[in-house]
């Protein structure tokens, strides 16, 4: 165990030496890695913030059920048990036609319009609230409620929620594809860097093999160099995204305020940031691994 640690510490030291010797070119690699990662990472951060924004808007899926105008009050109230029996229903609320008219009258300019009405034209209604925003369930329930007795009209108020959900889903796929493509680019960068590094250290590698170095001993510093470059690139990407958010923070707050809401951009969580850096290290390691496998056979 101790020997193992000593070997790995030595390999890491040699990897850092290797990077220090490479100087500017190592720095350039870190920057390339950072910029390539900053794109998907930045897009991901924006997506997370958009999702937060979407959640803050009232996205409770609702079905409005209008009872036929000629139905008696008892008949209207009788729907309650049938509505409650539907799957995934969180709450049902009865809105009597008088209540509806009263709230219409109190609603600004519509009130004047309502005052001109003779008899109350509004029907009794039920508002059904569901637990979650599953588009399929909403439509299914709407269809079965339509078939219930004395139901005139059923309205699903969630078209925009579904659209927003679909748009976010699209965004997620786009970020994922961007990340996949740029990850490939990073593996290629690490592959090439390590290939050049192996060429410059050809003499040392050959000598080490003659002196009894195992493949592991020879490959470890290069793998560490790849992983360290990746991790530093990841850190650079996190820094770039952070700076971008700092720049955007004030305009976003101003924009939100103009819509009379409070909203501020949020940075990635520590777990997300750590995952990103680890992932970047993994990509660098993979590039180095593939490069070594191709060259040291």
């Amino acid at each position: 165990m101790k020997a193992w640690l000593v070997q790995h510490a030595a390999a890491l030291r040699r990897a850092l030496d290797m990077l220090r010797h490479a100087g500017w070119s190592a720095l350039a690699n870190v920057l390339v890695t950072g910029i390539a990662l900053a794109l998907p990472l930045g897009a991901y951060t924006l997506l997370v913030n958009l999702e937060r924004a979407a959640q803050r808007l009232d996205a409770t899926p609702e079905i409005s059920v209008f009872v036929t105008p000629d139905a008696k009050r008892a008949e209207a109230l009788a729907l309650e048990s049938a509505l409650k029996a539907l799957a995934g229903v969180k709450a049902v609320r009865f809105v009597a036609r008088e209540t509806a008219l009263a709230s219409l009258k109190s609603a600004g300019h519509l009130g004047e319009l309502a005052a001109t009405l003779g008899a109350n034209p509004l029907p009794d209604a039920w508002i059904v609230t569901l637990n979650h925003t599953s588009g399929g369930l909403l439509q299914q329930h709407a269809a079965s409620i339509t078939k219930m007795p004395r139901v005139d009209q059923v309205q699903v108020d969630t078209a925009w929620v579904q659209r927003a959900g679909a748009a976010l889903q699209l965004g997620r796929y786009a970020v994922l594809m961007l990340a996949a493509m740029l990850s490939l680019a990073l593996v290629a960068v690490a592959f090439n860097t390590i290939r050049l590094q192996v060429l410059t250290q050809h003499a040392e590698i050959e000598l080490s093999q003659l002196l009894g170095a195992t493949d592991g001993f020879i490959q470890r510093p290069f793998l560490y160099a790849g992983a360290v470059t990746g991790a530093l690139g990841g850190a650079a990407a996190l820094g770039m995204v952070y700076l971008a958010l700092q720049v955007l923070a004030q305009p976003v707050t101003d924009l939100a305020r103009s819509y009379a809401t409070e909203f501020s951009l949020q940075y990635l969580t520590a777990a997300d940031a750590a995952t990103a850096a680890l992932f970047a290290a993994g990509l660098g390691w993979l590039g180095a691994f593939l490069s070594l496998r191709q060259q040291l056979r």
Binding site: A3, V6, Q7, A10, A203, E204, E206, L207, S208, Q209, L210, L211, G212, A213, T214, D215, F217
Partner: protein, 226 residues
């Protein structure tokens, strides 16, 4: 310690470097491989650490059949050997000290232990004062001594040297031979490929258990028969 039996080695293109070579080198022997260029001296020295593999026949080192050794086991075979190469293979991007420390780093020595051993090896070859120097600043003789220090720093039981005195004048060559004789005295098995007959005579007159294996066109000449 080292035994070759009916070893053939031919390279791609049909060149036959060794043609049925058999010999045994006992523990603590000092053996000179002699012969003209291309006689097969270097090939023998490359077969022992499995840098080359025999086309047929068996090479046994320390009881291990090198010809049948798995690739993964080769590094561990080489750690028991001290190799001195014809072209020295010094690393000019690091100090004298670090060059000698390389074999110890490979075997995973802790750095405090390693430093002691490196200095002891440098002391033996008279380069202790130059440990911080770059090998490029050393003379030809000093570079060769550095190569020896690197070959013995991990205290191998077998030392193999390919033309160690090739580019040295007589006095430096003798100085080097004295170092080999010192290792010979403490029981290290040594094989040296050379065509420097004066060197062999010098060694024969200064030590016991010295033997010559003369090679000619890939086979042992009669003189070698026991």
């Amino acid at each position: 310690m080292i035994s070759f039996s009916e070893v053939h080695k031919s390279y791609a293109g049909g060149l036959s470097a060794l043609r049925g070579v058999s010999f045994v080198v006992g523990e603590g022997e000092l053996v000179f491989l002699t012969g003209h260029s291309g006689a097969g001296k270097s090939t023998i020295l490359k077969l022992i650490p499995a840098i080359e593999r025999p086309s047929s026949g068996n090479v046994i080192v320390n009881g291990q059949n090198v010809s049948a050794l798995r690739t993964q086991a080769i590094p561990y075979l080489r750690r028991n050997l001290g190799l001195i190469f014809q072209d020295q293979k010094l690393l000019f991007d690091r100090s004298v000290f670090d060059n000698v420390a390389l074999p110890l780093a490979i075997t995973g020595f802790g750095s405090a232990d390693a430093a002691k051993r490196v200095r002891a090896a440098l002391d033996k070859v008279g380069l202790l004062a130059r440990e911080k120097a770059n090998p490029i600043s050393l003379s030809g003789g000093e570079q060769q001594r550095l190569a020896i220090a690197r070959a013995v720093v991990h205290r191998p039981a077998i030392l193999l040297a390919d033309e160690p005195t090739a580019n040295l004048d007589l006095s430096h060559a003798r100085q080097l031979m004295d170092m080999f004789l010192t290792f010979h005295q403490v029981g290290v098995t040594i094989m040296i490929a050379t065509h420097d007959t004066a060197l062999i005579e010098y060694a024969t007159s200064h030590a016991k258990r010295v033997r010559e294996l003369p090679l000619s066109a890939g086979a042992l000449a009669d003189k070698a028969a026991p």
